[in-house]
């Protein structure tokens, strides 16, 4: 066991740090719509041109084929720039891309993976439905085979970035006669297909990149099925375990700098004389340190067994609880000025506080993560 990075890794870190210092966009990211999409994709293109796209993706699929440790270094340095961990590129780079690498055909990979890495396209995820949330496998959006096409009718919900997406990883019901996990298919949906209607859902923090998507006899070529028809559940599960593995690293690392900034603010405002505040921040320091240590353990495990296991749920659950607690602590420190949703330092903490309520819901609720941990790590009965 050791914590030290190799000389090669240190050199890599220097390279990353230098490149990010010179290339990170200085303009503020637009909050929504086409302007946001253009901003995120231009940033991806810049990374691609700099040779930083798909650091741990295999070389044959356009990646750099580097070790997970170097992916971690990239995430750590990226986090220090203050850029968002999750933006319109997230599903393509952290969900759909890894799933296509694991499960798609040569043709599908050759068509889609370069576009994702170059920043040509935005992907979104079509999993949840109004009647299929935590019980995802009960999804009802129906797909019927007609010649060499699937005809899809139904509704998806909680689809981030659907309003600006080109493609969607879509789960549909292709067999209604078998147990619910068995009749599901994972298919690539072109978001410009006729019959698709995207409607934004305004969230409690005011964002509009959250959407519901309606499908009215949308025709999707059978060639877009990933894996085989009716076997989509296993394909979807590989996507979800990627999400719970390393995809949240940037947010985790940023929690640490958030805590340090808040301690500085508390110090400036004379709040570090308050025992309760001191205890809360010191506890947050310890908890954030442990989260990082657990991320390192997870990466060490992934190196020996490449597909992330249910341990990813432990990281996700702890991050959700901790980031919500810290966001709440932030508005306490800021005091009454946190009531104003102004575009300044104090107001942005309020924004982050409101956004934090999603942390224990998105990507699988904390209740579902606890079920996964109890059943798959501790072998408790279902």
């Amino acid at each position: 066991m050791d914590l030290a990075f190799s000389a090669e890794d240190d050199e890599f870190r220097d390279e990353v740090r230098t490149w990010l210092a010179e290339n990170t966009p200085s303009e503020r990211r637009p909050r929504e719509g086409q302007a946001m999409r253009d901003y995120d994709l231009a940033w991806q293109r810049l990374q691609y041109d700099g040779g930083w796209a798909g650091i741990s993706w295999p070389v044959e699929f356009g990646g750099r084929g580097l070790a997970l440790t170097q992916q971690l270094i990239w995430f750590e340095e990226y986090a220090r720039t203050g850029m968002r961990g999750i933006d319109a590129r997230f599903v393509g780079l952290s969900h759909a891309g890894p799933t296509l690498i694991a499960r798609a055909t040569e043709e599908q990979r050759a068509f889609h993976l370069p576009k994702i890495l170059r920043g040509d396209v935005v992907w979104c995820q079509g999993f949840s439905e109004p009647e299929a949330g935590s019980d995802l496998a009960s999804l009802r959006t129906r797909a019927v085979v007609d010649g060499d096409e699937l005809v899809v009718t139904g509704q998806k919900i909680w689809t981030s970035f659907a309003d600006v997406a080109d493609y969607q990883e879509l789960l549909v019901r292709t067999d209604t006669e078998v147990p619910k996990h068995k009749g599901i298919t994972w298919v690539i949906c072109d978001m410009r297909s006729p019959g698709i209607d995207v409607r934004p859902i305004k969230t409690m923090e005011g964002g509009t990149d959250f959407c519901e998507v309606f499908y009215d006899e949308v025709r999707i070529p059978l060639a877009n099925v990933v894996g085989v028809i009716d076997n989509g559940w296993s394909v979807a599960m590989s996507t979800l375990s990627f999400e719970r593995g390393t995809a949240f690293t940037v947010d985790q690392v940023q929690l640490s700098s958030t805590v340090e900034r808040l301690i500085e603010i508390a110090r400036q405002r004379g709040l570090l004389d308050d025992d309760e505040i001191v205890r809360a921040f010191a506890q947050a320091r310890a908890d954030v340190a442990a989260l990082r240590a657990l991320t390192y353990v997870g990466i060490s495990r992934n190196r020996r067994a490449p597909v992330p296991g249910p341990e990813g749920s432990i990281i996700k659950l702890h991050w959700a609880d901790l980031s919500k607690r810290i966001a709440r602590l932030a508005v306490e420190i800021v005091g009454p000025r946190s009531l104003a949703l102004t575009d300044d330092d104090d107001g942005r903490w309020a924004d982050r506080y409101l956004a934090s309520f999603a942390h224990s819901i998105g990507g699988g609720t904390s209740e579902i993560q606890r079920n996964i941990i109890a059943e798959r790590v501790l072998a408790l009965p279902r």
Partner: protein, 343 residues
């Protein structure tokens, strides 16, 4: 960077677990509750022969030359097994003697000469220059011990029990631990070492965290086994989320405690500038994990959990003893906030 044990380290873990299960299983530890000493002499001397008290000592001080990370593997198993006796203070005493220049005493401690752990009272103090102690002190596992280890963040001392006044044994909250009280009037140490020479206190913090992690893991496993096998209303109680989710939370706390303890041990071994930060973080997280997992286990077990017959109560009692070793959580948090941020 690699936080998984190597195959040699896996060997340390499994041989320590097997050794403890064979020599001091819980039945034996319970027998020792009513014995004059809580130490099983055969287990203790075998542990000394295995080199447990010299594991982290440098080879030029007649030690095994392993790192603090290797020591955490052993202390995690000691915590998990609830083995009783002054393992922690004897191990660290060998270091104080070795780095303080008393090779003979170092060798004696490494051979298993028992050294108690001293807990300073709220008004007591240790002089950071001379290592002298003053005020009331509680002695943990002082049966058969002539010396007591008293450590603060700046200095660690070995003090002769004979130099203390009014030594009086009292019943400990943990029946597998022996406790006594005494007073020190400016007692100079037999030998002491400054934290600049060797951070003994910090090593104690990390090793206590390792044993606390062992407790957090053991209680998690007791709860999970009970939740899966105890039937009520014709189903295992573990199907209910009111049981299942607290078990999941135990797993989260145990994983975090172990990850941070390893991180802290390696940070000390590699002399990172933020080693102190991580050590305190480990103790905070592990003490919380041990106490809360043990408490939740008592609840999951229901009436059985409240009996003396079930072991759950022994885990929470030991967790409280360890939580006070090398600074309690209150003290740890007030130190942690004053340190520079982790690197």
């Amino acid at each position: 960077m690699d936080l998984l044990p190597s195959s040699e380290q896996e060997e340390i873990i499994s041989s320590a677990a097997q050794f403890l299960a064979a020599t001091v299983p819980m039945l034996r530890t319970r027998e020792l509750i009513d014995a004059p000493s809580n130490v099983d002499p055969k287990a203790w001397s075998s542990a000394a022969e295995l080199g447990w008290f010299a594991l982290g000592l440098p080879e030029d001080a007649a030690g095994v030359g392993c790192g603090l990370a290797d020591e955490t593997l052993v202390f995690r198993e000691i915590g998990r097994a609830l083995a009783s006796g002054p393992f922690l203070s004897t191990t660290l005493a060998a270091r104080v003697a070795a780095f303080g220049g008393d090779a003979e005493l170092a060798a004696a401690a490494a051979r298993g000469q028992r050294v108690a752990l001293g807990l300073l009272g709220a008004d007591a103090s240790i002089d950071s220059a001379s290592g002298a102690i003053d005020g009331d002190v509680q002695l943990v596992d002082a049966v058969d011990a002539d010396l007591v280890l008293v450590a603060g963040p700046d200095v660690a001392s070995l003090v002769a029990v004979g130099d203390l006044e009014g030594v009086e044994s009292v019943e400990c909250i943990d029946p597998t631990t022996r406790l006594s009280r005494a007073t020190a009037s400016r007692v100079r140490p037999v030998v002491s070492v400054s934290a600049d020479v060797d951070p003994v206190y910090r090593r104690g913090v990390v090793l206590a965290a390792a044993s606390l992690t062992g407790i957090a893991e053991a209680t998690r496993d007791i709860s999970a086994a009970h939740a899966a096998s105890r039937f009520q209303f014709d189903r295992p109680i573990g199907v209910n989320q009111a049981i299942k989710h607290p078990c999941a939370d135990m797993a989260v706390r145990a994983e975090l405690a172990w990850a941070q303890t390893l991180f802290a041990a390696l940070a000390t071994d590699e002399r990172r500038q933020d080693a102190e930060f991580h050590a305190i973080g480990a103790k905070v997280v592990a003490a919380d994990a041990a106490e809360r997992n043990a408490a939740a286990t008592i609840q999951v077990l229901g009436g059985m959990g409240f009996t003396f017959e079930h072991d759950a109560n022994l885990y929470i009692k030991r967790a409280h003893v360890l939580a006070h070793a090398f600074g309690d959580t209150r003290d740890a948090l007030s130190r942690l906030i004053r340190l520079p941020a982790a690197v």
